[in-house]
């Protein structure tokens, strides 16, 4: 990793981040499109949840990771406090790994 590479990655990433708020200001978007943009952020986040809980790199992640996320998800669905959701997910996955799953 060179400093130049870090700088290019930083500038490129910042450009992606700044483009949205600036573009959004230039365009007067109809409510229907605004709603669609908000939905698209949810779709991206759910895709991140799915890939980061079921896959490790380009392969299936095994059982411990998805089961931990599932336990966290069920707790969230049953309106458990957010902190408990996160701790339950991590503890389940860590426990299953300790058992060799």
């Amino acid at each position: 990793m060179t400093l130049a590479a870090v700088l290019v990655l930083a500038v490129g990433t910042y450009a992606f981040r700044l483009a949205g708020p600036l573009l959004r200001d230039r365009l007067s978007l109809p409510p229907r499109v605004r709603e669609l943009l908000s939905t698209s952020a949810t779709v991206l986040l759910v895709a991140l949840v799915a890939t980061s809980s079921l896959m490790k790199g380009q392969h299936l992640a095994g059982w411990a990771l998805p089961l931990g996320v599932l336990v966290g998800g069920l707790a969230a669905w049953r309106k458990a406090p957010f902190v408990l959701v996160v701790v339950l997910a991590a503890a389940t996955t860590a426990g299953l790994r300790l058992l060799g799953l």
């Binding site: 990793m1 990433t13 981040r17 600036l22 943009l37 949810t42 991206l44 986040l45 991140l48 392969h59």
Partner: protein, 227 residues
């Protein structure tokens, strides 16, 4: 800006702290891994402050450590971070109106801040959530990276503590209320299936972007309702 701190409530701060604690452990591991593969201690810190995107940082360092070129590492990191463009279109209004708010706020745009902002009911709370989460994670992440770089190999693998499950579970809890809307749920499920099906074949980051194809499910449905 002052109104943000007034809108903060203890529950939000507690939730943000939980995510920041997880980010800190991951940051420490990033610092330790970077030093372990031969980078000087300050390089992961410079990278964390300027890029502030955990996934792309791990990936870039990993590619170089595996013998890849810095150019390949940068390209892979940029593909992974391209999702911030649609994120910004969705939450652009949340950052604030002033130029300073936009310039600084954009740098704090990460999965966690977007998810926290989307999970709030009104715009004032969304702004408070976005900024408090962004500031907390920025400091937690960067301080932990330095700590990890200095501590080096003493830091274990965060997967041992199940921390790789903490991130998706936190994101899931935050998006769950939005999924009560049937059209959003349908789009998210279709998108997740697209992302999972393409992950084995495409470079990291691309499958998540392809998930936007799930939006087609909302368009068709709504035009049906209109008819």
């Amino acid at each position: 800006m002052r109104s943000i701190w007034r809108t903060l409530d203890p529950r939000l701060l507690r939730d943000v702290s939980a995510v920041a604690a997880g980010a800190a452990v991951n940051g420490a591991s990033f610092g330790a891994i970077s030093v372990a593969v031969g980078l000087p201690w300050w390089m992961p810190l410079v990278m964390s402050v300027l890029v502030f995107g955990g996934g792309s940082q791990f990936m870039a360092v990993g590619i170089v450590a595996a013998g890849g070129s810095p150019a390949a590492a940068v390209l892979a990191g940029l593909v992974l971070n391209a999702r911030h463009l649609p994120f910004g279109l969705a939450v652009g209004d949340v950052l604030g109106r002033s130029w300073a708010a936009r310039l600084v706020g954009s740098h704090l745009m990460i999965d966690e801040t977007v998810a926290f902002a989307l999970a709030q009911r009104d715009p004032a709370r969304a702004r408070a959530a976005y900024w408090s989460c962004g500031v907390a994670l920025f400091f937690a992440w960067n301080i932990a990276v330095v700590g990890g770089a200095l501590a080096g190999q003493a830091i274990g693998d965060p997967a041992t503590f199940g921390l790789d499950a903490a991130f998706p579970a936190a994101m899931l809890a935050l998006v769950l209320p939005a999924l009560k809307d049937r059209a959003t749920l349908r789009a998210a499920v279709v998108g997740a299936v697209i992302a999972l099906a393409t992950t084995p074949f495409l470079p990291p980051g691309v499958p998540v972007l392809l998930a936007l194809g799930g939006l087609v499910a909302t368009i068709r449905r709504r035009s049906e309702v209109a008819v």
